[in-house]
Structures are given as structure tokens and as C-alpha cells.
Symmetry: C2
Subunit: 341 residues, 2 copies
DNA sequence: TTGTAAGCGTTATCAT
DNA sequence: ATGATAACGCTTACAA
């Protein structure tokens, strides 16, 4: 139904090759011919068949975004939507398309990834927040498809973009220290993810830097869900912290609820800091002091980086790019002070 | 680098056709041959090149999800992420892939849609919440690619899945009526979208059904953002409503803030209902009474429906499918009663 | 049951 | 500057 190159060539009275040259803006085609061909293209509504083109060029102009199973359940938290917004925007700017793979169970992830990675549909892949010991990234690496990870990954060869989680956590904790707190607890995220590790590390470093001992009873691991934040807070209660650094806003909300449930007030009895600066942080009462990270930019940087790699010659040899975007403390009400840091 | 059909054939000592038959599970291939071929496939790690396959079958096993520019700014609200989760899950189950197109400006949308629609990459398209007078849906229709809309669309030929917005709005308003309110205002959503129209219609019908006149001064249009909810509430204040039905949770939050700013308490001075039951609804204080819709199911139903259409013969002729999913009132604290309806 | 060969719509090489 | 022609990796009549 839609006209093919062949037809356009016939209508314009030239060969396929010439039309192809015109379409791809090659030099060495006479101005007059070019115009004639464009005219036919316009009139006939010709659109190149990208599938046929991909078959010969070995490029699809499609990049994959894979969101691993472990984080799909928190997909609705504004983190991933914002990453996607950034990523699609960058794709639009560069005439690429984005194929989204979201997994809800490990088997799907395993099977579909294998299939999709090796099927030839993808020029490159972005993996968001995988577990450090997941086979996902090694699998992609092995497939030979260029990869960018969102979230630090220790592999020598893996390019990534991340936000400064250590620095952000540091700022959060230092803020609490400056307000006079010593018994500062933390609700860590999944320690199987680099975000989880790094935010905990920032907590440790900040404490140490101020000569405050790091105590195990003040550290509890959650999994970034509200429920886990609530449970973690309950487990923290016996240690009676005067301040809590929750490593994301959602867990901070959970902690807040747990605190309320036992009659403790934020910030009067316990100060609370979150991480992410999701919309919910400014809506909750008291408004949450938190650490802002440039989520949307992480998404767009990830595809920019990926496309860079794709279009640069010999992309295997160069050392991995590692981009760390800055974070920023946002002071609101949940620490009981409007001290600006 | 990866082996081709040809190579597998050579290794197995059969012809390309035979390998193709095995891969595609055709009948009429001897059991012994089949096993031999599978063996080679396994050992060589052969994966069919889907691009080459698509070129001949004219099927890519990819469906597009397009989120129009008008709604991208509220993309982070859990509505779209949840739709995506449902949609990708359904895709996974059916061995389809999902190509995501998110637009941040009208030009991109126009240009990219035209290009992608006619380029041959998509077997079908899902359009989420377009404006009623947008050219998007007509464009897709004209391209001949099977389409499902998320959100009602008046076109005779357009298949859609939607939630029962009229019914949901009705329930919300009726709840307020039963609590004794007469001066019930509404903050409508964009009236250029069917969601906006329908929720307003439900409000009207419920009022009328209870013999309460519908007054213009009690109706203000927002655009589903928090800011617009706040502004709308301010404009509503002179009419001194005793209850407000905000047509989504986000605008309800905006209204809440506006109310607080002038010293009015919810629910004591003004009762408030939202729509969507997004996570924020249960976190805010007071917890928001709202209308729940099965967002994730809308996403999965949309792709199921689309795939149905794709695989059913002569899909142009049959009348459009119109699926309306039920909504449900969730009573919390913002109306000052725990009356169950 | 299996193989041969044509063809899908491009791009790319090589003549002319 | 332009045109034949051979790929690209697969499916699918049609033949054997």
C-alpha cells in the first residue's frame, strides 16, 4: 500500500540507487534530479521502510530501557517515570526510539532479555538500577550490545550515570549533626543495589567525620517501599534515636507513620530526613527535608551517553564513562529547623 | 558474529527451509530431523534475526504506546506509570515488545508520529489520553495501523478501554450529598479530554438526580495539575461551597493547600473528594476520600485488546470494542465521616 | 518430509 | 552523476 523505493524510482524516472541517495542525503546527485525525486516522494507520501533498512545497515535506531524485576514494584514512585521522561526526550532529539522492558518476575526477565538482546532489534541498552549481583548486566555485556547503566556498577567495562548518593547522604546526616543530634539512625535501602550501599556509606562517612561512632543497632535495612520503612522504624524504636535518615522519601513516609503510631512527633521527638525529593515530600505533614537528585537528567544523560558510544568508532576500547550528577539538600520542616546548609 | 539460519542449516546438514520450519514449529518435519536441528541451534546459540523476519512477515511484534504531549507533564503522577506496568506485563505474556513514545512538545509529536507510524516498525498502537480534538488519533487511523485508545474517544471506528468516569464521579458526589451537602463545587479536569468531560458529567448527573441545581459558579476547570487545583480552589472560594469534588487527587491536594492558606479546615469547614486513589491520597492529611480506578488493568486490557484485533482476521470491519472498567469509592477522612457507601 | 528459489525493501559496491 | 547488481537473513510457495 505505501509506495516503495522502487515505485518512487519508477515515477521519477531514475534508479533505486538514486532515490536512496536522495533520501539519505548523499552528495553526488545533481540538483535537478534531487528536486524531481523529492517531488515524487512528497506527492506519493513515500516513507522509507525502516525494517528493510535495518536489515542492511544493522542499525535499528532503537535503544532498549530495561527496568529489572526487583524494582518494578516501586516503578510507580516518581523515580522511574522521571527517568523515562528524560530518556524519551533525549531519544526524540536524536531520532531514536525507546523500547521499554519492565519485568515483574525473574523468569520473564531472564528469558525475554536473552531473546531481545540477541534478536537484533536493539542498537544499545540502558539498564536501570539492577542488583549488583544480578546476571543482567553481565548478560548484556556478553551479548556485545553497547550498555549504559543507571546507577553505579563495579564492572570495569560498564559505563554508567549515577547521582552522588554518598555526597547526598553525607549532607543529610551532616544536617542532622549540626542540629545537635548524636543518636542518628538510618533506614538503609536494599544493600544489594549500589544506591543502597552508597547512601549507607555516606551516612557512615558523615558520622565518622564528626567523630560519632557508627552503631549497628541504629542501622536497619529496608527495600525502598513504604511498608519496609514502617517496619524498619519499628525495629529502630528500642534504640531510641533522636533522628532518622531514611534513604528514600517513600520509606521516610513509612517511618513517619510508624512514629505517629507510637505517639512520637516529627520533628519534636524525632527528626527525619528522606532522599529523592519526590512530590510526596512536599505534601506530607510535616513537609519532608530531603536530598534532591536530578532524576530526569539521569535519564537523558544515559541515552546521550549511549548514543555517544554508539556513534563513536571502536567503542569497546575506551575506558568506561562514569558520570556522577550532583545532589542537593532540600530543607523543609521534618528536622525542626529552617537552618539553611 | 551470531550464527544465521544458513549456518545452522549447514551444521545440521539440512536446508534453510527445514531449519525455518523447526524454529517456527511447523508440522511436517520428521522428529529426528527436528531434534538434530534443535541440537545445533542450542549449541550454536542461534537466535532468529527478528529484523529479517519482520521484513518478510510484515510483523514486528512491537506495539507502540504513545503518551501525547498534553499529558506528559503529569506523567509522573502514578497514572501513566501504572498504565505502563500493566501494558508491559501483558506484552511480556504475549511475546510482544513495547515502544514508548512520550512527547514534550507538539512539533515532536506531529513529526515523530508521522515518521514512526508509517515506517513499518509497529504492528499496532495504543494512544493514552489524547485530547478529543487532537489530530493524533485520526492520524493513526489514517495510517491504517490498528489502534486502541486509553480513554473514551467518540470516533465510530476507535476501539478503547476506559474506566467508568461518569459512574465514579457520580458516586463521589452522591457521597457528599448523603452527608448533607448542597453547595457542592467541582474542580473539573481539562474539558478537552474525555476524562475531564465525563467526570464533570457524572457530577452534573448526580446533582440533578438529587434535585440540586447545577450552578456555574460552582464549576471551575483545572488541568489536572496541583497548581491548577490550587488556583481553581481560590476562584471557588467566593461561592463558599461546603464540599468540593476535585476530579483528580493531585488537584485535590492543590485545593487542600488553598483551603489551608485561608484558614479553612478539611473536613470541618469544607469536605473534599478526589479521584484516582493515587498513593498520595492515603498519605496526605487528612487522608483523601477518593474514587479508585483500575489503572494497571486499563494498561493490560489495552494491549490485550490490541493483540486481539491484530490477530483476528479482517479487523477493520467489526464494530469498535468499548471496554469500561468499574470504579469504586474509597472513603477516608476528608469528608468528615466514615459512612460506608 | 525436504529442498530450491523467489522475494521482502533497503543500502552498498562497482561499473559506466 | 547514475545505474546494475549483489547482499542483508529470513519466510514461503512450489517442486521433488
Amino acid at each position: 500500500m505505501p509506495p516503495t523505493l522502487e515505485e518512487v524510482a519508477r515515477l521519477a524516472g531514475v534508479s533505486r540507487s538514486t532515490v536512496s541517495r536522495v533520501v539519505n542525503d548523499h552528495p553526488n546527485v545533481r540538483e535537478g534530479t534531487k528536486e524531481r525525486v523529492w517531488e515524487v516522494i512528497r506527492k506519493s507520501g513515500y516513507q522509507p521502510n525502516v525494517v528493510a533498512r535495518s536489515l542492511v545497515t544493522n542499525r535499528t535506531q532503537i535503544v532498549g530501557m530495561v527496568i529489572p524485576e526487583v524494582v518494578t514494584k516501586i516503578f510507580a514512585e516518581p523515580f522511574f517515570p522521571l527517568v523515562l521522561r528524560g530518556a524519551t526526550e533525549a531519544c526524540n532529539n536524536h531520532h531514536y526510539q525507546l523500547l521499554l522492558s519492565l519485568f515483574t518476575n525473574p523468569e520473564d526477565q531472564e528469558e525475554i532479555c536473552q531473546r531481545v538482546l540477541r534478536s537484533g532489534y536493539l542498537d544499545g541498552v540502558i539498564v536501570a538500577s539492577s542488583l549488583l549481583d544480578d546476571s543482567l548486566i553481565p548478560d548484556v555485556l556478553r551479548s556485545g550490545i553497547p550498555l549504559v547503566s543507571i546507577g553505579r556498577h563495579p564492572g570495569q567495562q560498564v559505563h554508567y550515570v549515577d547521582s552522588d548518593n554518598i555526597g547526598g547522604a553525607w549532607m543529610a546526616v551532616e544536617h542532622l549533626v549540626r542540629l545537635g543530634h548524636h543518636r542518628i539512625a538510618t533506614i538503609a535501602g536494599r544493600l544489594g543495589m549500589s544506591v543502597g550501599q552508597d547512601r549507607l556509606e555516606g551516612y557512615r562517612q558523615a558520622l565518622l567525620a564528626h567523630g560519632i561512632p557508627v552503631k549497628d543497632e541504629l542501622i536497619v535495612e529496608g527495600d525502598f517501599t513504604e511498608r519496609s520503612g514502617m517496619i524498619a522504624m519499628q525495629r529502630l524504636l528500642p534504640a531510641s534515636p533522636t533522628a532518622v535518615f531514611a534513604t528514600n522519601d517513600v520509606m521516610a513516609i513509612g517511618a513517619l507513620k510508624a512514629l505517629r503510631a507510637v505517639g512520637l512527633k516529627v520533628p519534636q521527638d524525632v527528626a527525619l530526613v528522606g532522599f529523592d525529593d519526590t512530590p510526596i515530600a512536599s505534601v506530607v505533614e510535616p513537609a519532608l527535608t530531603t536530598v534532591r537528585q536530578p532524576i530526569e537528567r539521569m535519564g537523558s544523560m544515559a541515552v546521550e551517553l549511549l548514543l555517544d558510544i554508539l556513534t563513536s568508532p571502536s567503542h569497546d576500547l575506551a575506558p568506561a564513562h562514569r558520570i556522577i550528577l550532583p545532589t542537593e539538600l532540600v530543607v523543609r520542616e521534618s528536622c525542626g529547623s529552617d537552618l539553611q546548609v
